[in-house]
Structure formats: structure tokens, C-alpha cells
Symmetry: C2
DNA sequence: GCGCTAAAAGCAAATAATTTGCGTTAATGG
DNA sequence: CCATTAACGCAAATTATTTGCTTTTAGCGC
């Protein structure tokens, strides 16, 4: 039961949540996550441990809660002037963030929690970003694949590799983008050679 | 430190490991995983808790250890007579297993552990199965995609959806197979034996 | 086989984390 | 402003984890 956003979000309750979240972020900066305990977080946050236990249940739910906030995109995808450029730049940045130590840890925290609501949120964040790129592409009159096609063709392979093996190379990431754009049904005003290469 | 396959695999040590693994499997059958604790497992296995603590460190490593064994494929992919049939049948079965409650839990256990060696093993298992299908296809003179193409085009999207959202529909899974086969060019055989050890 | 060495297990005491009952504070709604 | 009750704090009880030391036994050279 991640007591996130229902039931009494006012004053004190919100302050406690913010304080606990800050304590977690602060502790994760200076120490190994294996050494972070609920009593420690409670002391850092200035609350009693039982508050955390009752509200989050276990450490993993709290970590997942904090991680999902950090995974929320804080900026719009960069506008490079073309759909291909937008998607390439966004994808490379996404891959870098997710495959970094911090990104990996946060993903692990989100997936390790009992409750998969946080994982769904992460998926929604990613889809939103891609939808923005798609909207811009359409506004320019460019073709752009379905969001699902991008999720399956670009995001899923990247995440799979990060979780189950090693970080994908930048070349591999570019290939994924190239392939998903090449499979787009409506032909964009781009040279055909750019779509087939790779 | 998952003390799996090094250092003194003989008699008693092996017996203890087997006993503990059995205890975990047995307990997971009858109770919620949130209620499974190390002292409980120790009692069921007839060992002292400190043995488990020293050997696996924490519950998650032990659960990951057990889960990866259960995720090891126990049969060859079904031979349907064609590459498409083989891949379709295998994929549907894989998707069903992984998206079941048990499959999800095991995947979560594997990914939640500090040590990602178990996750790599799961990846290797999957690649091995696909390599077998590929070998058969080539023996028949059929074209078959790269293992990596199948991982990116079929396995990754399925796993991503299971982890971050909902179970993919059977139609979606068939589409993934169709698309990866449509992109296939003829290529040399890839021996499965070269891809995995243990 | 026989003993030597050290890794792994057992035991129990010490420490730390988690749960729980109950009183107190303060957010929400009328 | 008052009533209601969710959420918090506190402390005692329970349970899990760590740790020092002893015992067992696998692995190995003879």
C-alpha cells in the first residue's frame, strides 16, 4: 500500500512525505543503498520509524516511490527540427540516463516493489515524451510511427538490455531508431537513403 | 554474494543448498511471498538462520537464486515443421509463462537482486532456446533472423510490457513474430552451444 | 585410507529492525 | 468553530539479523 496520493494530502502529512523523500535522496547520495534502513531514514527525516512503516510498509515501496519521482521527465524533448533528429537525441539521452548506475538502481527499485503502479507510471512518462515528439512531427507534416511501435522497437529493447545484460551501444540505439522510422507506413519528406541505411 | 557455483560444492554444503531451495519452493506454494522470512525458511529446511544469512546475505538473493532455477527451460522448443510455427508456438508459450503470476514473481525476484548474474542467466536461457529454433530453421534451409533481432523484436517487447504494464495480447505477440520474420534475410547458422555455458 | 587444513555449518548472545497498542496532533468537512 | 478521524509520536513487545566462537566435514596431499 503506497499511500501516495489519496487520503488527506494536506499540511503535516505532505510535510512528512516530503521530508522522508528528501531524507532518502540525501542518504542515497552518500551511502550504499544496501546500508539504507528505515530507522536511518526516519532519523534523517526527523520522524519516527513507525510512521514510515505504517505509511509505506517496507523499504522497497518507499524506494520505489522516490525512484519514480526521479524518473519523471523534467524537460521537453529537444527540438532538433526533424522527427528523426528528435527521436535520436531523445533516445540516446534516455538510454544514457537509464543505463547509468543511478538509472539502473531506480529502475530496480521501481520493479522490485510489490505494487506495480510505479512501473506503469514510468511507462506513462516515456509514452508522454514520445507523444510530444510525434505531435511535433505531425505538426511539421512528417510521418511518425505509432507510440506502441516506438515502445516496442526502441524503448523495450533498450530497457531489456539494461535489465538483463549490458548497456546497449550507441550504434545499436541508432539502429533501433532507424528501423522503427523505416517501418513507418506514411513516407516522410526525407531522402529514402536515410531511412534504409543502417 | 550468491554462493552458487564455486567453493566446495560437495556433500553437506550441497545438501544444505538443496534443502534450502526446496524449503523456499515449498513455502512459496502455500503462502504469500511477503510472509516468507529467512528464519521461516531455515526452520523448514532444518538449518539455522545464520547459515542462510552467511551464504546468501539477504532474502532477495536467495529468492533470485531459486527463481532462476525455475526459469531454466526444461524442454526443447516444439518442432512444428517450420521456422514461423516454431517461433510462434515458442513465443506464445514463453509469453504465457512469463506473464503468469508465478512468472512475474520470479522475474521480479531475479531483477530485484543486487547481483545481476541471475538476470544474465535468464537472458542466456532465452537465447539458447531461440538459437535452437534458428538451427532447425537453417537445417531445413529456411531463413531466420539474428538472435539479437528476435530478442529485440519479440522478447524485449513482451518482457517490457509484462514488467511495465499489462500482459501483451496473443494478437500482439503474433504480430511481433510476423514482423521480425518479415525483416529476415538469409544468413549462416548459429550454433546454440556457442551461446551458453551452464 | 589417514590425517591436515580450512570452508561451511551450528549455537547462542548481542544488536538492530519491525510490529503494535495507545495517547496526541491536526487536516477535513460541516 | 467544532466534531471527526487520519496520521503521527512514543514505547514496549516481538522478530529478524549480526557476530564471536565451536564443531563438523569436504578437499587434498601423503
Amino acid at each position: 500500500m503506497p499511500a501516495k496520493e489519496n487520503l488527506r494530502p494536506g499540511g503535516r502529512s505532505a510535510r512528512v512525505q516530503a521530508s522522508v523523500h528528501n531524507a532518502v535522496r540525501s542518504l542515497l547520495k552518500t551511502m550504499d543503498r544496501a546500508d539504507v534502513t528505515i530507522p536511518l531514514i526516519a532519523a534523517e527525516a526527523g520522524v519516527t520509524p513507525s510512521t514510515i512503516y505504517r505509511r509505506w510498509g517496507e523499504l522497497q515501496e518507499l524506494l520505489a516511490d522516490v525512484a519514480v519521482e526521479r524518473l519523471r521527465p523534467d524537460m521537453l524533448p529537444i527540438d532538433t527540427g526533424s522527427a528523426r533528429g528528435d527521436l535520436e537525441v531523445w533516445t540516446e539521452q534516455y538510454c544514457e540516463e537509464m543505463s547509468s548506475g543511478i538509472g539502473r538502481d531506480m529502475m530496480r527499485d521501481v520493479l522490485a516493489a510489490q505494487d506495480n503502479a510505479n512501473a506503469c507510471k514510468c511507462d506513462a512518462f516515456t509514452r508522454e515524451q514520445i507523444a510530444l515528439i510525434a505531435e511535433r512531427a505531425h505538426a511539421r507534416g512528417e510521418a511518425f510511427p505509432d507510440i506502441d511501435a516506438v515502445m516496442d522497437g526502441v524503448v523495450a529493447p533498450i530497457i531489456y538490455r539494461i535489465l538483463f545484460g549490458d548497456q546497449p551501444s550507441i550504434e545499436r540505439v541508432r539502429d533501433l531508431v532507424t528501423n522503427v522510422l523505416a517501418a513507418t507506413t506514411i513516407r516522410p519528406p526525407q531522402p529514402a537513403s536515410a531511412l534504409i541505411s543502417g
